[in-house]
Symmetry: C2
C-alpha cells in the first residue's frame, strides 16, 4: 500500500520469463503480507480480477475465497467459464452468487443510463458485503487494481474501480499484486499463470456489463436478445481474426422496434446495433471498417437466429461525438 | 378512362423524340376530354404528380389549378421548389396550402406507424377536399396514376395512391394522362416537358413523407433534425454520383437518445440512421456497400452540423427481414 509509484527501474513485462519472475516475487510478498490470514476477492471474470485471483491463489491456496456475483448482465458463457476455471483448474474457495433476479428487479423500469449504473454498482456492493459477512476470519481484500487505475485515481478522473466502495464496517487490508502493472503486462502474467487465452485476452467490458448495452429500461427478453447477438458477433469476429485486431466490439439492443418482414408476414421487432472501435488511450476512438461481406453475414445471422430482432445497424460514430460504449 | 390496358403495340418511351410524340398525342386527348373545363390536381412534388401537372398545363394552361399541400413532412427545399417550378416556370394556377400545424398537431403523441400513416392520409384528403370546394366550376381531377398503380390495383395489392379517397360528394372526372406509362417513361416525358432534372429523377418518396422516418411520436425538433440530416445525405450521395446508382436512400431519426461527447461535455442526443438500398421489384432489396470514407464523412457532417444528433448508424438489413423504409 505504501508504494503506489512504479519505479523507473521496473522493466516492462513482455516475456513469459519476466512474468514468471514477477509471479515468484509477488507470491513471496503476498505470503509475507497475508501469512495464514484469509483473503476475499470479487471475481468478475474480467482480465484484472481473474489474473489477481490466480496469482493470490498461487500464493495462499485455499485461504483465498473468490465471490463471483452473477448479476444477469454477463456475456453468454461467462459465469460458466469462471466456475470452470476457478472451481476446477485453480484451488480456490469459489462462492457463486446468483443475484440475477435481485439486479433485474431493481432495474425494472429504469431508463436513465447514469441511474442504471448507480443501481448496479450499489447492489453489487450490497451483495458482496453480505457474502463477506458470511465468511469468518477474513482480514484481507484482494483487488485487481492495475497501474492506470492508480494514475486515473490520482488525476481525479475516476474513483478506484472494483469494490472500492465497500462499507466502512468491513475493515479489510488490501492485497493488490497488480497495482504497478499496465494492462498488457497483466495479460502476459495471466498467460504465465495458466489462465485460458480467451480469459486473458478478453476485450474491455464495463462493470455494469450488458446493462449499459440494453439501453432504456432493461427487460429480460431484450437482455436475452442482446446476449445472443453479442455471442454471434464475438464468434464471427473471432473466426475472421478481428478479435485480435479490434480494441472493443459489442452489440446494443435499444428499446426501439421497427417494421420488418419475417416468414412473409409483418414483424415489429427490435433493432440491434453493432459497434466496433479502435483506440489508443480511450480518450478518442475511430470505427473499424469491417469487410462488408462479413458485416452482412453477421447481420443475416443476428436477424435470423436471434428471437425478436429483425434489423441490424452499424455504428459509424467516432469518439467524439460518440462514446466508446453506446448507452 | 375506358382503356386501362397498355396495348402491346405501344413502344417503350426511351427517347426525347418518342416523349415529344407522346406529349403531342396527350395534349390533343386532354383538350378533347376537358374542352374549356377546369382541372384540379394535388401536386406533391413527386415525379408522377409533377409530370402530370406539367403535361395538363401544356394542354389547358390556366384552366389547371394545382394544390400543393405542405404537411410539414416534405424534404428540405421541396415546397420551395414546387412553388418555383409551377408558380414561375409553368403557367398554372398554384394554390399553396400551409397545413404544417394541422398535420403535426394531429400527429402529436402518436407512435404506431400504421396509425400515423392513416392520420396523414386522412387529413390530406380533408385539406384537399376543402381546397377543391373553394374553387368554382371544377369538373375534372388530374391524377399522376402510372401503369404499375393500375396493375397493383387490379391485383388487389394496394389501392390507387394519390387522392383516390376523395369524398363521394366531390364528383370529378379523372384525367390520367400517364396511366399507361412505366416510371422510367414518366421520367423521359418529364424531361421533355422541361421539368428540372432533380425533380424528374427524384428517388421514390413515401406519401406520408418524413413522417414515417421520424419513428415513434413525431416532435418538431426531431423532425427538423431528420430533414437536415436527410439533406446532408442527399448532397453527399449526389456529389459521389450515388444518386444515380442507389435506388432509395434516406435518413431516419428514431425516438432514441444515446450518450455522447460534444465540446468536451456529455451530450445525450438522438441517433440518426442512414439507409441506402437497391431493388428491382421492391419485393426484396439489398443494401448498398457505400465507400467507408464517404460514410464516415457523412457521419461526421451529420453529428457536427445537425442540432441534437450525436450518433450515426448504417442500416445493414436486407429485405427481408427489413423493409425498404425503416419505420
Amino acid at each position: 500500500m505504501s508504494n503506489d509509484v512504479r519505479p523507473e527501474s521496473l522493466e516492462r513485462i513482455t516475456t513469459p520469463e519476466a512474468a514468471r519472475s514477477f509471479i515468484d516475487d509477488q507470491v513471496k510478498e503476498i505470503k509475507e503480507q497475508v501469512k495464514d490470514g484469509k483473503v476475499l476477492l470479487a471475481l468478475s471474470g474480467g482480465v484484472d480480477s481473474s489474473v489477481c485471483a490466480a496469482l493470490i491463489s498461487r500464493a495462499i491456496g485455499k485461504n483465498l475465497t473468490c465471490v463471483h456475483v452473477n448479476h444477469g448482465l454477463l456475456r453468454k458463457g461467462e459465469p460458466e467459464q469462471v466456475c470452470k476455471v476457478f472451481g476446477e483448474q485453480f484451488d480456490v474457495n469459489l462462492v457463486y452468487v446468483d443475484a440475477v433476479d435481485r439486479f433485474l428487479d431493481a432495474l425494472a423500469g429504469v431508463s436513465d443510463p447514469e441511474t442504471k449504473r448507480k443501481i448496479i454498482g450499489s447492489i453489487f456492493i450490497d451483495v458482496f458485503a453480505e457474502e463477506a459477512a458470511k465468511i469468518e476470519g477474513v482480514s484481507f481484500l484482494g483487488q485487481g487494481t492495475i497501474y492506470p487505475d492508480i494514475l486515473e485515481s490520482k488525476d481525479g478522473i475516476k474513483a478506484h474501480h472494483n469494490v472500492g466502495g465497500l462499507p466502512e464496517e468491513v475493515k479489510l487490508e488490501l492485497v493488490e499484486p497488480l497495482k504497478l502493472l499496465f494492462k498488457d503486462e497483466v495479460r502476459v502474467v495471466g498467460a504465465a499463470l495458466g489462465l485460458p487465452d480467451e480469459m486473458v485476452n478478453r476485450q474491455p467490458f464495463p462493470g455494469p456489463g450488458l446493462g449499459v448495452r440494453c439501453t432504456g429500461a432493461i427487460t429480460r427478453d431484450r437482455l436475452e436478445a442482446l446476449r445472443e447477438s453479442d455471442a454471434i458477433l464475438r464468434e464471427e469476429f473471432k473466426n475472421a481474426g478481428l478479435d485480435k485486431k479490434v480494441w472493443q466490439y459489442f452489440t446494443v439492443v435499444p428499446d426501439m422496434k421497427a417494421t420488418g418482414v419475417k416468414d412473409g408476414k409483418r414483424a415489429f421487432e427490435w433493432v440491434c446495433i453493432i459497434r466496433a472501435v479502435n483506440t489508443k488511450d480511450a480518450m478518442s476512438a475511430t470505427i473499424e471498417r469491417v469487410d462488408w461481406e462479413l458485416l452482412e453475414k453477421i447481420s443475416y445471422r443476428i436477424t435470423h437466429e436471434v428471437k425478436g430482432i429483425n434489423r441490424c445497424l452499424y455504428d459509424l460514430t467516432a469518439k467524439p461525438t460518440g462514446t466508446i460504449e453506446l448507452e
